[in-house]
Amino acid sequence: MGDPINLIGDWLRNLMTGWGLPENLATFILTVMGVVVMASFLLILDIALVWLERKVVARFQDRIGPNRLGPFGIIQPFADIIKLLIKEDITPQGADRIIYNIAPLFALATVLMMWAVIPFAPTILGADVNVAVLYIVATGAVGTLGVIMAGWASNNKYALLGAFRTVAQMVSYEVPMVIALLIPVLLARSMGLQAIVDAQQPWFILVAPLAAAIFLVTSIAELGRAPFDINEAESEIVAGFHIEYTGMKFGLFYAGELLHALTVSALVATLFLGGWRGPFVDQVPILGVFYLFVKAFLIYYVIMWIRYSFPRLRIDQMLGFSWKFLTPLALVLLILTAILDKAMEGATPLVYTLVMLGMNILLVWATVQVLRTYARVERRRVAERRPVATATEADFKELIGQE
């Protein structure tokens, strides 16, 4: 029941206590080392994500992508980093210098912080706290603060517009996300992520597929990725909140977004796909890390797939989608899950899973029926002739008071 990381940890602890260091100091030093190792691992992974993202988007757009530097262009992100590091750092005139400079820190640091509670394997995790779900929601919200700070401090109207849109989008999608998060908490009876993974027999994606879908969609909105990228819509507000950022500061926003996408994928994997669960994981705990990242990258691919397949939504459509569709749906799902869960106390896991799955499928069916009716009404409304389209030249002259 050993894994290399804990073995090294124990060895170092014995070494330090052997030198005569007090137990508390040894714990402190080991914790600092754990944090540094984990953060470095994630940042290196982040560099790999840049390459992956570019390669996959190229394939979606029928291109080859980076292929000059190294085999399959694998050294490309390092070249990008060098380029970003030697770019001149421009602060626009009138910018709020302090806030302008710390905003990129927020963008990446908050995403790193989220990983502190994600369990990598049965024995490998940063912190097993019993309020991990709330911690993740909270740190995610602080990441939004970085975006708002960037937009506000840049002294640029596009940046400010981008920040406003981010606020509207984040606060709207936070509501269904928190409700969707409540469902795995309810099923596992715990807010700790390790406890949620332990409770997943079977995986929660079978018990609550709709909650997983809502969580994924709202998470993509929190990421600000297409089709929810109105906060940096290139064709409307040029680049939104990071329009004035150059060099490595822009690079941090970019890296933060990519790592955030992987974080969200890892969260979906942990909450709904069984986290580190997989064959032989009880004998060889280190396999859990492998399983977690396989699942996370699967979800990451789905997120990229969605990103490059859908056009951007308008802001009214986006807010409507959250408030008028996802929120009511999540609330109904929560009520049904709670009642059914209580009603089936003592049922066998098979019956329990089947009933929950059936309820989810029925709810999806009912939702699709409602949506079809709505779509019909909406199509009719949009097709109606508008005053602008029907006005004649005489109407116009009357309007401006001539003749």
Partner: protein
Amino acid sequence: MQNDWLFIGIFLILAPVFPGLALLIPRLIAPKKPNPLKSQTYECGIETYGDTWVQFKAQYYIFALAFLIFDVEIVFLYPWAVAFDQLPLFAVMEGVIFILILVVGLLYAWRKGILEWV
């Protein structure tokens, strides 16, 4: 448990250090020749006009208010979900009624036109 919070605390302190280092390197090796023309605010085609920090749409504020109400109420449901095993049917129904009150609130906001982007 105490060690877990120690880990999170150290993570919170060290997490900004890594991107901070990434920002420090360009300070040392990147060229730095600012001039007024270069640091002008970006705008499409013309020089930027007037104050940037202008009045904004009240709609953003209304959405933030609606969010605040919902988020605070949903956070109350987390302890309810964690203690679900110990709850009798009565308490579960109380939770459901609480959610139904939220639904009614949402419908009210909807009817009042708060959720329309005008």
